[in-house]
Amino acid sequence: MRYPILFAAVAACLCLAQDKPQILDIKTSKLPNGLELVLSEDHSRPVVNLQVWYHVGSKDERAGRTGFAHLFEHMMFRGSRNLGPEEHFRLVNRAGGNVNAYTTFDQTVYWETIPPNYLEQMMWAESDRMSSLVINKEILDKEREVVKEERRMRYDNPPYGLLMERLLDNFYQVYPYKHMPIGSMDDLNKASAADVQQFFDTFYVPNNATVVVVGDFDSKQAAAWAAKYFGPIPRSKNPVPRVTVKEPAQAALRSLDAALPNAPIPAVAKTYHIPGAGDPDLYALEIASTILSSGQSSRLYRKLVYQDQTAVAAEGGTMNFEGPSMFYLFGIVNQAKGDAKAVEKGLQDAVNELNAEGVSAEELEKAKSQTLRTLILKSQTMQGRGDSIGYGAVILNDPRRVNSELEKYQKVTAADVLRVAKKYLAQSNETRMIFTGEKK
């Protein structure tokens, strides 16, 4: 009887070994001015993804200037020394490519996905705006209005648009993740051209930038172009400032009810402090969140939406930041059958069950399979790979992390999940929020 079991185990391992995301060939180098270059060639499709990561996000904004990193991102499309109105977009459009940028709590990323023969042109264009952004009051005033429209469209008016802003403000006591990248209307109104210039001089410097190229190109050639176009840009005189404030440890449950404009049905959030990016506990926490809430056979969905029907949506997960991060459970009340109290209890029951009994071997395997599939799907596009490589390089300080990520998830044991659940999902570490609509 022993041999067949052993055989079965070997066979299972082999299968798993077959179905894996591709190991990426990743080359790294650094220019004398501090700019990091990360290259990953793959000639299977005639596409290149270029990303320029600046290690600056909304957490780096000073008090009274929230929304700045993002407003600045908009300014980066308002022209540089060699590129006039809309020209950056036009270059990419004419190449048939896609272009966009985004600002998060920790990073600001500019990217282009283009046919390979346009790579040199786009490296040139990125170096042009890194070295010579045009900043003046007239442009700033226009773009500020655009950002205010963005705030109205994305946050002020959609259902639950303001929930996350309120939630983060309550969850963090001092850490600058207290505010969202979009910032406040008041602070947006205060931004001056001098502020913008100072922000540029401080953070948009080669020693705070990482250039990632993925896809159908020649590494030697790309490195030569990087040296030619980015090389002459001088590094900053002072070191790039980093956030030094520490989020104090929480000692007891914090609980609050918040009235929110346009919250059509009450919603419940239970949030817990967890460590920031790179901490080994995060792998087990993510597995725990997958078991709780990934898919319709997950614990939360089955219990709250299918069985009890107290919620119309129930989910949980980690919000991973570079600094102190968050584990959350979230539910929207099914008003036909439940209320906020019932949803809160349902979520707490799930936490209690996890902390008392841990997870089964089947649940663990299922979560690992789901993680594997997510990682494979993410590596399907050149852009997905660029995102992963950039994140590894800039936030985790490990450009090749994408190649070892799967193994770290595969190593998580049921004991690990139980340990991190007990450690982090404790009531003393919880901030509980119930959101209801504002009376009109």
């Binding site: 985004y102 005033d141 226009k142 346009n262 990934s294 989910e315 599939r373």
Partner: protein, 492 residues
């Protein structure tokens, strides 16, 4: 709703447009216009293998070994255009419960469990003019997952509890349909243009949902899911010979037949130009939709209209974006497109949002831009940019096996030639400035615009009536008749 819902609320903020600047060239950079590019490599389009089973089911296979995944879909000729007027929502419910209601041997929940253990998925949906059952899995699980997939295509069970759940969810969708102001604008715009008494534009109400029973779903499913009414496409990491044998084994014995499905109901739109107001006193921005009926994909002027639409409102370099966003700062988001459908017309649609105060000014600016497009030829550079964008984006149409196969199967499904995309590419290449002006004059009709604005009229800088007679939109959600059960209806 999946877990991304929550994270989406925290997503980073987006992007911007450009501005003028005249500064000397920096010494280390050459002018980009002097950079030379090698020619783009010719796009290689993989050819799928296709065959028809003796029961009439058409099959398409596309091998691709890049990733250890296998995916596929069954496409059935059906759609909500076949909804009976009194039971609107039937196709939608059938598409949902087809999957959630399980198979003969496994309940929907058991299927969830089984598939999620393998990190696989099977999904189903019925839209306006097609129904799909799709699957995706790791290559090693192909056999198990395709067997489940087959059961859904041939013998879904529509268990009562999931019929009830789906009806409750559909009712809850009706109750929530006025929560999002931008959703109201696009819904009302579509309904007005396609006609509220036509399956292209009518609204599903409680009374319709309450009339639908399990047997209606089963009948609908049995009417449209039969072999000669289905195309099956599979792509990914397999050997074509083995996959063919597998499909013959899975579907070869399925001999269920029905009468051929009739054509979809004819489309007959009556234009309804005018200014419509959806009153939402609790928002600080106006969401607007402006336009009229568009055309078909195989219209001979479609390529020129596509170019005209792009120049007017596609992307950051478009005229509307430059004027409304970059120059005026009135909007974060504004766009226009000439919509074209396979069988029935799409919509010519301009949409965006602006703070309440600048509502009328923004809509007027849109109207001016439309007039300009009809008054003089676009510039040579605008034309070239729009044409290059289409030409160079061709590689992205075929960059994954999924996209390649989807496109080819859809052409076949809707009776378009297999090389339609290349005919279109060629036609785009031939569009001239005179063509753009000619089609703008012929097809874009500023006098015939339907304008829908959803916002807080008390905060508008100028009254909406400055644009014409205003017809208020009734956003009330009609209550279900007395025989209905459940939590009942309420107005906005």
């Amino acid at each position: 709703m999946n877990r991304r819902w929550f994270l989406a609320m925290a997503a980073g903020a987006g992007i911007a447009a450009a501005q003028q600047a005249t500064l000397p060239t920096i010494p280390h950079l050459p002018d980009y216009r002097t950079l030379k590019f090698p020619a783009l490599k010719a796009v290689q389009i993989p050819k799928p293998e296709s065959f028809t089973l003796p029961n009439g089911m058409k099959v398409f296979l596309l091998e691709n070994h890049e990733l250890p995944l296998v995916s596929g879909f069954a496409l059935a000729r059906t759609g909500n255009l076949f909804d009976p007027p009194a039971k609107r929502g039937l196709a939608d419910l059938t598409g949902t419960v087809l999957r959630t209601g399980g198979t003969k041997t496994l309940s929907g929940d058991q299927v969830d469990e089984t598939l999620e253990n393998m990190a696989a998925s099977v999904e189903s949906n019925i839209g306006e003019s097609r129904g799909t059952v799709s699957f995706s899995c790791l290559a090693e699980n192909t056999g198990d997952v395709m067997a489940i997939f087959r059961d859904f295509v041939t013998s879904a069970e529509f268990r009562q509890d999931k019929v009830d759940l789906a009806r409750m969810q559909l009712r809850s969708g009706i109750a929530r349909r006025n929560d999002d102001p931008s959703g109201i604008a696009s819904r009302e715009f579509t309904n007005i243009l396609y006609g509220r008494d036509s399956p292209y534009g009518w609204e599903i109400e409680y009374e319709h949902v309450d009339r639908i029973e399990r047997k209606d779903l089963v009948e609908f499913y049995r009417r449209y899911f039969f072999p000669s009414n289905i195309m099956l496409a599979v792509y990914g990491d397999f050997s074509s010979a083995e996959m063919r044998a597998r499909i013959e084994k899975l579907f070869g014995g399925w001999d269920y037949q029905q009468a051929p499905v009739p054509p979809f109901p004819a489309f007959s739109a009556k234009p309804a130009p005018g200014v419509y107001l959806g009153d939402r006193s609790d928002v600080n921005q106006t969401f607007f939709e402006i336009g009229h009926i568009g055309g078909l994909l195989n219209d001979k002027d479609y390529p020129a209209l596509q170019v005209a639409g792009n120049i007017l409102g596609s992307g950051f370099t478009s005229r509307l974006m430059r004027r409304v966003r970059t120059e005026l700062g009135y909007a974060y988001n504004i766009g226009a497109s000439w919509g074209a459908g396979y069988l029935s017309p799409g919509l010519f649609e301009i949409s965006g949002s602006t703070k309440s105060k600048t509502t009328v000014e923004t809509i007027r600016t849109v109207q001016q831009e439309l007039e300009k497009l009809r008054a003089t030829e676009v510039t040579a550079e605008e034309l070239q940019t729009a044409k290059d964008a289409v030409e160079n984006s061709f590689v992205f149409f075929f960059d994954t096996p999924a996209r390649t196969l989807n496109r080819l199967v859809l052409y076949q499904y809707y009776g378009y030639p297999a090389d339609f995309i290349f005919q279109y590419q060629k036609a785009i290449g031939q569009v001239t400035r005179a063509d753009v002006l000619r089609v703008a004059r012929k097809y874009l009709r500023p006098e015939n615009l339907t304008i829908v604005a959803v916002g807080n009229p008390k905060e508008f800088g100028a009254p909406l009536s400055a644009l014409g007679r205003v017809q208020p939109l009734d956003l009330t959600i009609p209550e279900a008749p007395a025989r209905a059960t459940g939590e009942g209806a309420k107005s906005q």
